[in-house]
């Protein structure tokens, strides 16, 4: 860094200068806004160094296994600062999502020490944790000698933080007192509505406030816009079809995936009357207003269609709608956002997906790896990613409180901030934590596909599903 810039930044850090005037002064020196904030961030991390020995693991190197994702991009863009701060070397492998988790499973199940930390979802830790492939991060979070005092763990949104902690008992409540922190939240996704405002207007439709209205609105949007289908939701034969809008609405209606008895036994809960009613409506919605090739839709297709103007609305991850409103998408700038509660009363309770970071038990140097973990999930990087890169949705309340971040969202993403604020309190994982999560949820998706294709009536399909789920639970000693 050149001396002049350094002085300016340090002045800012000491509170002698407003952010705005700093940026102005820097731009006078020929520094663009983006690199200016990298500078600021770098200075900020340097400032941290005063209170904590960041150089403790100087010269060590770690390797990461990463999914292809905007969060990854944001982290990599800022990675040089970490290297500078700690003197550590970081390398990584990036895989696209289709094969990413298979790669994680392959690496961990073989006990590979190649990767020290990796990206994961909370659901995955229900496998990795009991399998003994990952560590309980509480051990590091609570160790003041290993964790930077400014890390501020309690700054993490509570619902998100708790959703990443589980005591390992099948059916055990997430975030309970005896829970182990299997992973560190990084960024998360609520499931709400993103819609094409002009299509809504053209169809003279209004925003739905409950499930029946959602179905009506979807049909109306489809009828009122040529060559457009009403609502985009996921449909591929994967657990990922269940967890976004589908489960959010399901849970909001008070339905559960599994029952947990007092003695800790699990049993299927998908064949209640309420569940059957919900499934019937959901199936009808897809049949009437869903994508023609719904059954192959992963989040890529759901997002792409909205961005390309092929669909009028999605009930899926909020960040998907966020991304579709920018870049070279045909519909960029025309999208808007709204929270959604299927029951029609009370606040939305979206199920969430949490991109997290976890340390591999097979890592040869967990303490050094933890340095990366706390940096990547720390408030500084969070703010950098959220304001300068597409690191939505941040998991720290301090970032959500940042006016710059809120303004930026409010300006270009109408309704986004409100949507988040309204649903954040109820946002958490609505699944029952248990090791058969992927088997059972994938089978659920497959059953849904059959129902949409009219291969099996909803009632019958759910009864079959419940039978099968119970059988598998029993087989695994859980039921």
């Amino acid at each position: 860094m050149y001396e002049k810039e350094k002085d300016l930044v340090n002045a800012y850090m000491r509170g002698q200068m407003s952010r705005r005037s700093l940026l102005r002064s820097l731009s006078a020196l020929g520094v663009t806004a983006a690199s200016a904030s990298v500078l600021v961030n770098a200075a900020a991390t340097q400032a941290l160094a005063a209170d904590f020995d960041w150089k403790k693991h100087n010269g060590k190197s770690i390797k990461l296994l990463l999914n292809k994702h905007p969060y990854t991009d944001a982290m990599i863009a800022n990675l040089d600062n970490f290297k500078q701060l700690t003197g550590m070397e970081v390398s990584y492998d990036i895989f696209p999502e289709d094969v990413y988790f298979d790669k994680v499973t392959a690496a961990l199940s073989s006990g590979s020490s190649e990767y020290d930390a990796f990206m994961t979802g909370a659901y995955m830790t229900w496998t990795y944790g009991p399998a003994g492939w990952i560590v309980d991060h509480n051990e590091w979070i609570n160790d003041t000698s290993k964790t930077n005092p400014n890390y501020n763990w309690s700054d993490m949104l509570e619902g998100v933080r708790k959703s990443c902690a589980w005591n390992g008992k099948p059916g055990g409540e997430l975030g309970s007192a005896d829970a182990k922190q299997w992973c560190i939240p990084w960024g998360y996704e609520q499931n709400n509505l993103a819609f094409n405002a002009s299509m809504l207007e053209k169809a003279q439709a209004s925003l739905p406030t409950n499930l029946d209205e959602l179905i009506e609105t979807a049909a109306k949007l489809q009828a009122g816009n040529d060559g457009v289908y009403g609502i985009g939701v996921r449909g591929s034969r994967s657990w990922a079809t269940i967890h976004p809008g589908f489960l959010s609405a399901y849970a909001n209606l008070g339905e559960h995936d599994l029952n947990v008895s007092d003695d800790g036994k699990l049993s299927a809960a998908m064949n209640t009357a309420g569940s059957k009613d919900f499934h019937a409506k959901w199936v009808k919605m897809i049949q009437e207003s869903g994508a023609a090739d719904w059954s192959t839709h992963t989040w890529y297709q759901v997002g792409t269609d909205l961005g390309a103007g092929k669909s009028a609305m999605i009930y899926d991850a909020d960040i998907l709608g966020y991304f579709m409103n920018g870049g070279d998408n045909a519909m960029a700038g025309q999208l808007a956002y709204a929270p959604f509660a299927a029951s029609g009363n009370g606040a939305p309770t979206p199920n969430i997906w949490i991109w997290s970071l976890a340390m591999s038990k097979f890592s040869k140097d967990l303490d050094a790896t933890w340095y990366f973990m706390q940096w990547a999930s720390g408030p500084e990087h969070g703010l950098f990613g959220a304001t300068k890169m597409d690191f939505v949705n941040p998991v720290r309340s301090s970032v959500w409180e940042d006016a710059g971040f809120r303004d930026r969202l409010a300006n270009s993403y109408p309704g986004y901030v409100e949507m988040h604020d309204v649903s954040a309190p109820g946002a958490s994982i609505k699944f029952t934590a248990q090791p058969l999560f992927f088997d059972l949820t994938t089978e659920w998706a497959a059953t849904l596909q059959k129902m949409v294709a009219n291969e099996v009536p909803v009632d019958e399909g759910l009864d079959q599903l419940a039978t099968s789920v119970d059988r598998q639970l029993k087989e695994a000693g859980l039921g």
């Binding site: 492998d93 696209p96 289709d98 199940s109 073989s110 890529y300 997002g303 792409t304 991304f323 998408n329």
Partner: protein, 285 residues
């Protein structure tokens, strides 16, 4: 002398045209797609009139890929290189191991030779995952994970039986008298193998090597399960590419075209050996 009635001639012509269209059209269409931007690809109805662009190829070769979700460096050329390393490496190893063994099986009916040959052959027919899944665990322990060597070893499952099988048949077709005559002239056993048997079986070895190369190149499942990002071949890379690139359909098409071009070119260049190898391999031995 064949005689076809006019009606028959017309019917044959129609049938052949339909067949050629069915088998050639997908390749043709993908090539067309690879030369278009998303804008022209997404036109409805599809049209063959467009201004060709090589930007998709340029993006892939440059390794930079922008989509609406993210931009990422795509290691596609690296994947291509991996395919070359894996295929050439596997075929070379399979030739070194397989040709002498094929000769042994062809020339010496030693005890258990049929059983051993049968065992080697049956590897060709075992479900690949049966071996691959446990291997993911072992590879780590023996340090073969994430190495070309490990993959090339596993690729022997496809290459070795093929080479053994075709080359053995070829050796068996060489009259033994020629070799005997050479040996009686005072040449060593090894010289006979090298100077007489090998050259005579040359076309068979070429055919087998060619086929083995193509099978290795086209393999998907081995690399999907065992290869890490920097060792994976194009077949796996191209699939990953689909999800990674979002809706850059032209680039997907260009990636597919780049991935299949080497085998197609090889097939056209050496079709005589290929046809021979295929029909020998399956029927004659």
């Amino acid at each position: 002398m064949h005689h076809y009635s006019p009606l028959e001639r017309v019917l044959r012509g129609v049938a052949l045209t339909a067949i050629v269209i069915f088998f050639m059209f997908p390749i043709f269409w993908i090539v067309l797609m690879s030369l278009q931007t998303n804008e022209t690809i997404l036109r409805s109805p599809p049209s063959m009139v467009f201004e060709p662009t090589f930007s998709n190829y340029a993006a892939i070769i440059a390794g930079r890929l922008d989509s609406n979700v993210a931009s990422m460096g795509i290691e596609f050329m690296n994947n291509l290189m991996n395919s070359i390393i894996l295929s050439v490496g596997s075929v070379t190893v399979a030739l070194i191991l397989g040709v002498p063994a094929a000769y042994a099986f062809a020339r010496h009916k030693f005890r258990g030779s049929e059983d051993i040959a049968f065992t080697l052959l049956s590897f060709r027919f075992a479900p690949p995952l049966l071996v691959l899944l446990p291997l993911t665990m072992y590879f780590q322990q023996i340090g073969l994970a994430d190495t070309y060597l490990g993959l090339i070893w596993v690729y022997q499952l496809i290459c070795l039986p093929l080479i053994l099988w075709i080359v053995r048949g070829y050796f068996e077709d060489i009259p033994q008298d020629i070799e005997h005559a050479y040996r009686i002239a005072g040449h060593s056993w090894f010289a006979t193998f090298r100077k007489i048997a090998l050259p005579l079986a040359g076309p068979g070895i070429a055919a087998a090597a060619l086929l083995a190369f193509i099978f290795a190149w086209n393999n998907f499942i081995f690399a999907l399960v065992l290869a890490s990002a920097d060792k994976q071949p194009v077949t796996v890379g191209a699939l990953a590419f689909v999800t990674a690139s979002g809706i850059q359909y032209g680039q997907i098409a260009a990636a597919v075209v780049l991935s299949i071009t080497p085998t197609l070119a090889l097939a056209l260049y050496a079709q005589r050996y290929l046809v021979e190898g295929l029909s020998l391999g399956a029927v004659k031995g």
